[in-house]
Amino acid sequence: MTSSACDTASPRCSSMMEVCEASSVSLREFGCEQSLLSRPDGSSSFVQGDTSVMAGVYGPAEVKVSKEIYDRATLEVLVQPKVGLPSVRERSQEQCVRETCEASLLLSLHPRSALTLVLQVLHDDGSLLSCCLNAACMALMDAGLPMSCLFCGVTCAINTEGEIITDPTAAQEKESRALMTFAIDSTERRVMMSSTKGSFSVHELQQCIAVSQEASEKIFQFYRDSVKRRYSKTP
């Protein structure tokens, strides 16, 4: 039994090693604008290639009695699709974003209050969930909410040849064998949330995490640059 398991595992490992050398990994051009809406307490729009998401944060504010939590703030995340009404897909994205935000926000500092994060999809050209995460983080930063760490989202796709593509477009997502989105924190580069689709090996998963951690450096550098630009005297 044990010998057969080893036999199946080893060739897979070696094939992966060959494949990953060739793949070219890059993030599409990305941009962000903060406090662009007047009504929300914090707002941002994040653009990755053609994918763009707008986020607005309200709070801490009065909470409905039914949603009140006695020792921390209630976080509500809403994802608005571009066409039609929110469906199951949006619900699952909401949950992914909410769990990430709950992990990084210091919610216990605002007990019995409500935070609302609204994400409006402006254009979907792949890596939508990671764009939502990035927009959410920028909006939370703009709202000045206390957080234990920042987070960013990175999407990796594995195509049929086994190459890893970061920040895939919609066309690349369609052709991919597996699609993974990770939320990575800024302090220890740990994975805060993962959402995967398709089939992949343990090795590929670890490889994608490593690539995402590498890519998160770039996004966190971008966060730093944008904050520096915002609070500098000479832009």
């Binding site: 007047s38 009504r39 653009v47 608005q80």
Partner: protein, 420 residues
């Protein structure tokens, strides 16, 4: 979440300012706020900024069966989403009074004015027609949502291109944009809504009220008009009595405003068309203001992945070996809906059976005890296994399991015997 209430001081201040012909943002009575129209990456996506009010409209289409009473007309569908992003007072998924009012007004402004040729949307009469869906999302509410959404909706409709269709006999083929150029909708005229707010029982009038002004106004008059000075819809709300002269004056102001806005829309559409023809990148990413300090953009950045493979290998090697798994699912008997080795339901039944067996066995054991006087345990278990095989002749797997259990029972029996 509740909206922040307006204090009495603010209310008094606003009303007093209006009496003195002054507005908070320094506008004159008949001034519109600055209108900015931008387009998204795909066709039929339009953003409208009216001062700080921001609205997005997206047009989409699909092939559906027509309504029975109008077999050769396409269907227009309007949906205004009061997203909680626009204002904390808006709630998700609830049809508020305001959203119904806005939806109805937009429908009257664009559908009932017959500005779009619905007959050209017919593909096969009585079978398939295009349904054009307009989703208007409020992004930021700073008053006068109606005017902003009517501008956004009509601009998005003008910008939209539907895919071309080919009909061969009964078959309808929809061509992708690569195969055939998409077709714009045929639009006869562009109705645009203009809002007037009235204060002090209609004594004062303001064009394009902002959010603060909307809160203290007594009544609202919305006139939808096209550039040919034809009124498409008119609605007065708030329970205010207006004089005939006031309505006439408003319609005159509206005609001026509408021609200005129509000019602006056609200019924006022209610009976008030229940009798309030039093949340059257009869309939301390009419309982001670069000069603001709150905005930043980076170019495409490569990610170094040289050590990713090594790190992954490292982690995989350091991680514990995965537990041994069954190479393929075991199906006990063909036609049995069970995967894996043991079914708990079966177990219970077997246990019951076993109990019965045990009772009989106990008797047998006693008999044997009497006969042999504490004979060999192994022999007894062997004989029992044979019995079990007879009881379950259909499967070897089950027989094995029950066999093993019979071993245990035999052991238990021997223990009992030892106790004796």
């Amino acid at each position: 979440m509740k909206d922040t209430p307006l204090s009495n001081c603010e209310r008094d201040f606003l009303l007093k300012a209006i009496e003195e012909k002054k507005r908070l943002d320094g506008r004159q009575t008949y001034d519109y706020r600055r209108i900015k129209i931008t387009f998204g990456t795909d066709y039929g996506c339009c953003f409208v900024d009216l001062g700080k009010t921001r609205v997005m409209a997206q047009v989409s289409c699909e092939l559906v069966a027509p309504k029975e009473n109008r077999p050769n007309e396409g269907i227009m569908f309007f949906n205004i989403e009061l997203s909680p992003m626009a204002s904390p007072a808006f709630e998700q998924g609830r049809q508020s009074e305001l959203s119904v009012k806005l939806n109805r007004q937009l429908e009257r402004c664009l559908r009932n004015s017959k500005c779009i040729d619905t007959e050209s949307l017919c593909v096969v009469s009585g079978k398939t027609v295009w349904q054009i869906r307009v989703d208007v999302h409020m992004l930021n509410n700073d008053g006068n949502l109606m005017d902003a959404s009517s501008i956004a909706a009509i601009t998005a409709l003008c910008h939209f291109r539907r895919p071309d269709v080919g009909i061969q006999g009964e078959e309808v083929t929809v061509y992708s944009p690569e195969e055939r150029d998409p077709i714009p909708l045929s639009i006869y005229h562009m109705p645009i809504s203009v809002s007037f707010s009235f204060f002090q029982q209609g004594t004062y009038l303001l064009v394009d009220p902002c959010e603060r002004e909307e809160r203290v106004m007594d009544g609202l008059l919305m006139i939808a008009m096209n550039k040919h000075r034809e009124i498409c819809s008119i609605q007065s709300s708030g329970g205010i009595m207006l004089l005939k002269e006031q309505v006439m004056r408003c319609s005159k102001i509206a005609s001026v405003k509408v021609s200005e806005i129509t000019e602006l829309i056609s200019e924006a559409l022209q610009n976008d068309k030229a940009a798309r023809k030039a093949g340059g990148r257009c869309g939301f990413a390009e419309s982001m203001p670069q000069e603001r300090i709150t905005a930043l953009k980076t170019d495409e950045t490569p990610v170094e992945t040289t050590d990713a493979t090594e790190r992954a290998n490292d982690i995989v090697q350091r991680a514990e070996a995965p537990p041994q798994t069954v190479p393929s699912p075991v199906v006990p008997v063909p036609g049995v809906g069970q995967v894996g080795q043991q079914n708990t339901w079966g177990l219970e039944e077997e246990e019951e059976e076993d109990e019965e067996q045990e009772e009989t066995r106990m008797e047998e054991d006693q008999d044997e005890d009497e006969e042999s006087g504490g004979g060999d345990v192994v022999e007894i278990s062997d004989s029992e296994e044979e019995e079990v095989v007879v009881l379950h002749p259909e499967t070897t797997g089950k027989a094995k399991n029950t066999g093993s259990s019979s071993h245990q029972q035999a052991a238990a029996a021997s223990q009992k015997r030892q106790k004796k």
